[in-house]
Subunit: 279 residues, 2 copies
């Protein structure tokens, strides 16, 4: 244990967690759901069905689904989300777009196999086979993401010492479903639809601090953002918050080759390592 890590955490009172990727593993959960769904899909053309069931790279589909959401929250953070679109709606819009134009992992055998069947025809068959019911079931997978191995115990250990909750671009209904499913012991749930914007809009971080009576000038270090995404921590630090980077999530940001950026106060592998800095 570095005593520096403990010194940093000593001054913290409230922990705000990024959720998707940081606390739960969307890649594995969503990819499994897509594979289960396609295994139970009936399509008359056997070669198209085989391409979708055996050759197609559904993990890549998941990564593209996530990327579409990221681009959309970024766009809406810039313009203030005038139509009050929730993450649930964004996910559904993105799912519809991806089905209509099936994304192909670059340079992979699996993609070439699908391409061989003419992607447009495969997309069209899928578009017809996956009804609104199927799409809603798939979209709901984002409510039931599985935690990383350290998340449940890590949050429990941290909860005994800090006030802790989410500061996420997800919506409240989704976060509550997820917390019940994955047993995440939040003290509070702050979400984009409550706060009226999306990270990295500074409004999100400032409002989160104000709600805990943390003075933005004098006391912002009492608020700590925990994330596996560097853009999130950079924005939190610009608002004066303490910042912790979770480095062990294979699907999220990795530390740059030149090492820890200046806006990151502390790097830990996972939530259990973070809990070890409590003293």
């Amino acid at each position: 244990m570095s005593s520096e890590g403990s010194s940093i955490m000593d001054r913290v009172e409230v922990l705000y967690f990024d959720v998707f990727g940081t606390v739960v593993d969307y890649v594995d959960t969503v990819t499994k759901a897509l594979r289960w769904e396609i295994a139970n899909t009936a399509i008359a053309d056997a070669s198209v069905l085989q391409a979708l069931q055996q050759d197609y790279d559904w993990r890549y589909f998941t990564l593209m689904w996530r990327q579409q959401y990221k681009l959309e929250t970024k766009r809406l953070a810039d313009i203030g989300n005038p139509d009050k679109v929730t993450v649930d709606q964004m996910h559904m819009n993105a799912l519809n777009r991806l089905i209509a134009d099936l994304p192909l992992a670059p340079g992979k055998e699996s993609s070439r196999a699908v391409a061989h069947h003419a992607t447009k025809a495969v997309s069209k068959a899928l578009d017809q086979a996956w009804t609104q019911d199927v799409r809603e079931r798939l979209n709901f997978t984002w409510h039931l993401l599985e935690p990383w191995a350290d998340s449940v115990a890590g949050l429990q250990a941290l909860k005994a010492h800090f006030k802790l909750g989410t500061l996420t671009n997800g919506n409240l209904n989704l976060m509550v479903d997820m917390a019940k499913h994955a047993n995440l012991a939040w003290d509070f749930v702050l979400t984009a639809d409550m706060m009226g914007s999306f990270k990295p809009d500074p409004l999100m971080y400032r409002k989160a601090m104000q709600l805990f009576d943390i003075q933005l000038e004098a006391d912002a270090h009492k608020a700590c953002m925990v994330a596996a995404h560097l853009y999130d921590l950079e924005a939190a630090k610009a608002c004066g918050m303490t910042t912790v980077f979770i480095s062990s999530r294979p699907t999220e940001d990795q530390l740059p080759a030149e090492g820890k950026p200046g806006y990151v106060d502390l790097v830990v592998a996972d939530l259990l390592e973070l809990a070890q800095f409590i003293r």
Copy 2:
């Protein structure tokens, strides 16, 4: 068990709880804190000190403290809380006013004993003795209120079946402290400072439903307000919500002599009785 009660609860998905008085007992907790504080207060004039320590009715002081808060939230709900005053600040303002002008329980021996010492002089002595530190400690008592005997087990039982949280005029920081202290198993915490108004402003109930994707016209019955205050249930029913009155709280509203008002769907003694309607 009435099957009518189960029928009513069958259609509910999200439970929104009033907190002060409904889930926690502010009268007992706050009165004890005031008595502890005055027992540890030094005042040179022995007869004034005795009046405050032995004769004065601190339970009545607590009831008046609560009443001031109620009047203030009502006033701010009407004008939209332009200065973003939190319940913490309201409580402190009210405490200062009550110390400066000590309220006397009408017609009680204890009050006459204080009056005998000239209330103004007693107030003045207390005002000098209770420093800012003492007042902040007393004000923080509202963060540490004790649950009613059925509350913790009742919420746990209900949590297994419903999404459940607060819809309170309290502020977030206060509610999180209280939940950690009293072991209240909320899935979410919705508070006046998050929502930008106070109950019974319809905005509070509507926003609470929207955050769970409950359509205000078609599906409002899926949202259920639980309270020991009739004004709260009347306002919730006007927004279409299902309403449950908790009838066993001695310090809160009692059913009118003419029986259950039309805007109340279900009357239960406490949260454990409510949990028995799950089927």
